[in-house]
Symmetry: C2
Subunit: 338 residues, 2 copies
């Protein structure tokens, strides 16, 4: 029994020029849309994550309270539930799955929100990491619709350094001959494990490792136990082509890649009229605070509030550190009341 | 015609318990040892580097001036010139090459310096990155012999985060089936290229990439041109087992792994009586300044002087940024005059 629904998008022409035929957007909702349709929140997923992996920030008494809000979690294309290399029929399957941008994702989420429910205003868009990238995109692409955004541990455009980090992840995954250029019948597990190890150095901070939080904080028995148990365990169940599809989306994230802005990044930032609370992780190694500072400086109604955490990128999720969850949750509460 | 010499070490019993039989230490000297034998400087090599790749910091008018000093550059074991997986005869060749520590390296360098030349005091030991690790080791293992040390962009012990970064490098290299567990007849070029891409995100800083110094500073035509031309070009000519042997050395670097200190890191740091100038790169992603701060705080005669550079780890080498070379060279001049 699937715990989510599918919105049939039909044929979607993508920014890359390809068409995603019979596109499907998988989503889950929490809470009820009220009569005036003004209690909706959109909360997109992160790299490789699915809607259930967003639930650590949803709950009674939390900012994202299903008793007050109608919370919609759309699954990002490529994540295995929405249209992905692993679930798209030939000839557009696997290695032929087209490049889907963050803009494409959000345009389809917009259709879901407006066509299915007739929602005209969103109380909030919020997300972690690539979820933050989709959040920025909502603000830039549909400024009239979004009252508030809260992107955390993410950026409005993928930086060149972040792009290079991802090149390393991709190279490790595809170095495995079992990948077969994407035409594998069995997952390239050696490559998946290799990419997990590459990721491990980036996902948490230097201080996290120095203070042995893999052991003292997360309860693993040793560093190797953590590398296998947390990191390999995170990526091994995922499909390689799906991971590469989302990686492509990530590498091409740019809110100004939109005819309205013509590649002018500062203009796109300036168009985000939503009240914005931008929360980088203070020790995030690949979405560093200085990129968020630049973005906030070019947005008309934005506040920068770094998460004072030594958990690196994982200050933002997926709910691994209770103190960070509390910080984010309280910030969202205040934002929603403003 | 080789431009270096070989010091025959005989059979060397290693910290790992193995014996490096017929061990060879390749080295090159610059300048002449004076009659009182008090003008010697040791300048070990870095990860994957050979003596010629240290020469950017040697020259007339520079701190390391061959007209004044006798500069000895010992090649690290595993680098293809000193005993390495690629040049050791069976049965200790290739994947069977034993683990060699930084301590083992320096103990052999000590023999070269004392047995071959009868040198009793070193004016300076200096090095970048793993060369810095050997420099710290000289200070801790032979405190009576070393007057000054100048480790830059390196650490006295490999941090847990740095260890994890290297796990990613190793996983990418060995994910290539052509590696064949180290028993390849042809180099695993896909794995070498993958490790180069993993390395690319770590070797330079986020600001380096943000300011497009790959293009504006180093003259590459594009980011991809840089990834292939600089990074793949750096590692592709090297032997995979050699790279893994040096990576093992790096992961196990620890000046306190010495019977004298019994794993007490602070005690080992406290034993470094040499005047020390410790220069981390201000934006180094894997040998971060905070680790150097800790070390300096526990050393009796040490000064911390971060290299004010946005070139990340490559602030320290191999001579890619003239401003950084000047900063390091001037610091070394002052240190040598002190």
């Amino acid at each position: 029994m699937a715990d989510y629904d599918i919105f049939e998008l039909g044929n979607v022409v993508l920014q890359s020029g390809a068409t995603l035929r019979g596109a499907k957007l998988a989503y889950k909702t929490y809470g009820r849309l009220n009569a005036s349709k003004d209690n909706a929140i959109v909360y997109p997923t992160w790299y490789s994550g699915q809607h259930t992996e967003n639930e650590w920030l949803i709950g009674p008494g939390m900012a994202l309270d299903p008793e007050k809000y109608f919370i919609l979690v759309p699954n990002m294309f490529g994540n295995g539930l929405s249209s992905s290399p692993s679930n798209t029929p030939p000839p557009w399957d696997r290695a032929r799955f087209p490049g889907v941008t963050v803009h494409d994702n959000v345009a389809c989420q917009y259709r879901l929100v407006t066509e299915k429910w007739g929602i005209e205003r969103l109380r909030l868009v919020v997300g972690w990491s690539m979820g933050a990238q989709q959040t920025f995109e909502w603000g830039a692409a549909y400024p009239q619709m979004v009252e508030r955004i809260a992107p955390f541990c993410g950026s409005a455009r993928t930086s060149r350094h972040n792009f290079v980090f991802l090149e390393g992840v991709k190279a490790a995954l595809t170095a495995d001959d079992a990948f077969q250029g994407g035409w594998y019948e069995r997952q390239p597990t050696k490559g998946l494990r290799a990419m997990a190890r590459v990721y491990a150095g980036w996902g948490f901070s230097r201080t996290f490792y120095r203070e042995r939080l893999d052991i003292e904080g997360m309860g693993f028995a040793s560093l190797e136990d953590f590398l296998v148990g947390f990191w390999e365990g995170l990526f091994l169940p995922r499909d390689a082509n799906n991971l590469l599809a989302m990686l492509w989306t990530w590498q091409h994230a740019d809110i100004s890649a939109n005819p309205r802005y013509g590649g002018n990044f500062e203009m796109a930032l300036g168009a985000i009229t939503a009240r914005a609370l931008v929360m980088p992780g203070q020790t995030d190694l690949y979405f560093p605070p200085e990129d968020s500072e630049y973005e906030v400086a070019h947005m008309p109604d934005a506040e920068l509030r770094p998460i004072p955490s030594i958990w690196g990128h994982c200050a933002g999720g997926p709910g691994v550190n209770p103190a960070d969850v509390k910080f984010i949750d309280e910030a969202l509460k205040a934002l929603l009341q403003s």
